[in-house]
Symmetry: C2
DNA sequence: AGTACATTGCGTCATAATAACACATTAATG
DNA sequence: CATTAATGTGTTATTATGACGCAATGTACT
């Protein structure tokens, strides 16, 4: 796969890549889809290169699609990372040898790369992590348990989370991360996780329902050993209408 | 200048550029610094290329600096633009001939370019627009009167404004755009211009002073034929403290 | 079967923030 | 010196927010 790209590197934008932070929500945890190649000892964000005949947004969709099998989800460019040394010594001679890439062709990879960061919000329940090769591990990892990452991927991930935190105030992010039917406590946990702070149960209910984007269903979710919470779904129409204006505007 | 870059194009990131939206505020107008080369009939955003040994943020500072002479100002990356056709036919053969660039070397310029957008907030009164060549015009233009721009620069400008609008809710942008001493009505006009809506004078005063970042000075500004408004300045310390938490948080 | 328990659902109240508005003050102008 | 068009200050009704109390629910345990 990588070798194909190297062999045809004139078909790709030089020195430019895409990295995706794919968020999912499961078991009351905000999770991130990470990748590890067998021989490496660090994890990385799913990424890819940009075909010269593709918009960068399209290339990002391709990256997302190849790892998750889904498309049509929420995908958003959030920042571009371009420190000079960010990928220095990532593809060194040893690595190239291992990958059986000729030194001449490897130069394309060894040059300085700028990467465009996208983050995706996906419905965890619909995703089956999809390794593109036998030597690759793809896994959902709790955002609080993320191990050491290659290059500046930790910085990219952090920036994605910061952006998500800000966006949360501007739009109901829950729509993209939760399954069709969900409970208010689940939605609250999502908010608490992203904002990294506790919220009052009763006030949260009042505020979130006042927005008018939730539809109360005639179903309950049996929830272990306790009172069964009601199920809700998003009212897509009202959701879209609210999005136009944003939520909390100060002025 | 451009020719120097072409002649040494191996010193620059290929297919990648920087464009700056430089905002200033004057005469109650939000202004944008635009550039026109003599022979062109369209204006453009000040831009530049990225030396292979410079961080992209550093390269952006260089662009800003070369046009305004200032540095140490507020500069922020807001988006990256990478549609396939965004610079198609920008440097065609005719243009290359005019610029006396050999066709072989011109190929570097004719390829597809992705551009990273930065916006800057500068104190209008401290800036003297600075043409880098004799055949270049640099001018402040009211953001409502911006003429047709080259390529997708209109889209870039619009996106910068959108971002500014959102940031306004998160931080007191006024600090960067106004001179050291300013009046409340001036600050309000700035807010109204960016948000594109009228605000109530009295409520604005209350809210902005309640934030606690303004210092009332013992001076007044003689303001034409009416009551002289009081002058204020920002309290940098409190301003920085407020920035940490952001301003209007909903949750 | 009945009780304990953790969780959910709904309501209350004091306080703070907001929007809408009235009126006094100021400085240049004719 | 009155007029005028601004600025500065205050008032009030309404709404939003934060911090709670308490009843309802569904499972598990005795």
């Amino acid at each position: 796969m990588l070798k194909d790209i190297i062999d045809n590197n004139e078909n790709y934008q030089p020195g430019l890549s895409i990295d995706c932070v794919i968020f999912g929500f499961h078991d009351n945890q905000l999770k991130v889809l990470l990748i590890k190649v067998e021989r490496a000892n660090k994890w990385s964000l799913p990424g890819g290169f940009i075909p010269v005949d593709q918009d960068i947004d399209t290339a990002a969709i391709t990256v997302l699609n190849s790892r998750t099998g889904v498309d049509g989800v929420f995908l958003r460019q959030f920042a571009t990372f371009g420190k000079v040394d960010r990928n220095k010594q990532h593809f060194d001679k040893k690595t190239l040898e291992y990958l059986k890439i000729e030194e001449a062709k490897g130069k394309w990879l060894m040059r300085r790369f700028v990467t465009i960061g996208y983050y995706a919000l996906v419905d965890f329940s619909k995703i089956l992590p999809n390794p593109t090769g036998r030597h690759e591990i793809v896994e959902w990892i709790d955002h609080k348990e993320v191990p050491e990452l290659i290059l500046d991927h930790r910085e990219i991930l952090d920036k994605a989370l910061d952006t998500l935190r800000i966006e949360l105030n501007l739009m109901p992010v829950g729509y993209n991360l939760l399954p069709e039917k969900f409970t208010i406590p689940e939605l609250q946990k999502l908010y608490e996780t992203i904002l990294d702070k506790k919220l009052d149960r009763r006030n949260f209910l009042r505020k979130i329902t006042n927005i008018g984007i939730l539809t109360k269903l005639d179903e309950k979710k049996s929830n272990g050993a306790h009172k069964a919470p009601n199920l809700y779904s998003f009212d897509k129409e009202k959701y879209d209408e609210v999005l136009k204006n944003g939520l909390n505007q100060g002025w």
